[in-house]
């Protein structure tokens, strides 16, 4: 979800600490895995928001400071993707990165992680209908973005 190995490690550590700290306050209304998924998703969204803020600040700083290094994020490669699908997956993750937070979360949980929609709804604390709608919108947006990428590839 964060497409950054270092950030993923930090989030994993934070998730374990949060679980350790609040395991006694866990109420068994949902399963433990759903609860841990929820903590993880919230941590990811927090980190992504912080990253976005840093990027915006960096942009404003770079307007006044010409020496500021422009660091382009390298293409993300998920280590679990099958070798023959690696190139396509790279384009998919590039497109996923452009989605709004909630569409991105739903797409990753339901499509990439292949979790049932009911569990996605429990993790995100929304209805199954809302999950369906977000997933639909995410797919439409991804198709648009991938269409641009297709044209870009053709012109390269």
């Amino acid at each position: 979800m964060v497409q950054d190995h270092g950030m993923a490690e930090d989030i994993t550590q934070e998730v374990f600490i949060t679980v350790y700290r609040s395991v006694l306050s866990f109420n068994s209304q949902s399963s433990i895995s759903t609860w841990i998924y929820r903590i993880t998703v919230n941590k990811c969204l927090d980190h992504l928001r912080a990253q976005k803020r840093r990027k915006q600040n960096g942009f404003f700083r770079s307007l006044f400071n010409t020496d500021a290094a422009q660091t382009d994020k390298p293409h993300f490669e998920h280590p679990g993707v099958l070798l023959e699908r690696r190139e396509n997956a790279r384009y998919l993750f590039e497109a996923i990165e452009t989605l709004p937070g909630n569409q991105k979360t739903v797409f990753i949980l339901a499509h990439v992680e292949e979790l049932p929609q009911k569990e996605v709804a429990a993790i995100m604390e929304i209805s199954v209908k809302a999950v369906e709608s977000l997933l639909q919108r995410a797919k439409v947006n991804l198709r648009k973005k991938l269409s641009h990428i297709y044209e870009r590839r053709k012109n390269e």
Binding site: E9, T12, Q13
Partner: protein, 99 residues
């Protein structure tokens, strides 16, 4: 037409490219990092517990003082109303010293 079909086919392939994907395994050093983080976290949780106890003790003390003062002033006021019944002078009410 053919181009559009190619494009749609490619998009579908890309969308399905994560199918059969294996879960990412964490690097070996992450376990050590997490256990270190948990060890650092442990004293903090104890401090919070002590603070909670201190807050509770302070609240009980304040409550006891309030109840005590209410009882004291209630008793004090009730003796003040007996002015007509017992003919004590103002000096006698303030002090029990025998002249």
């Amino acid at each position: 037409m053919k181009n559009k079909l190619n494009k749609e086919g490619w998009i579908n392939e890309v969308l399905d490219s994560t199918g059969g994907m294996a879960r990412a395994t964490p690097p070996a050093h992450l376990y050590h990092k997490i256990t270190t983080g948990l060890r650092l976290e442990a004293p903090k949780s104890r401090t919070i517990a002590i603070h909670t106890k201190q807050w509770a003790a302070a609240a009980i003390l304040l409550l006891a003082l309030n109840v005590g003062s209410i009882l004291y002033f209630t008793a004090h006021n009730s003796t003040g109303h007996t002015g007509d019944a017992s003919p004590l002078t103002e000096i006698q009410q303030v002090s029990t010293y025998n002249y």
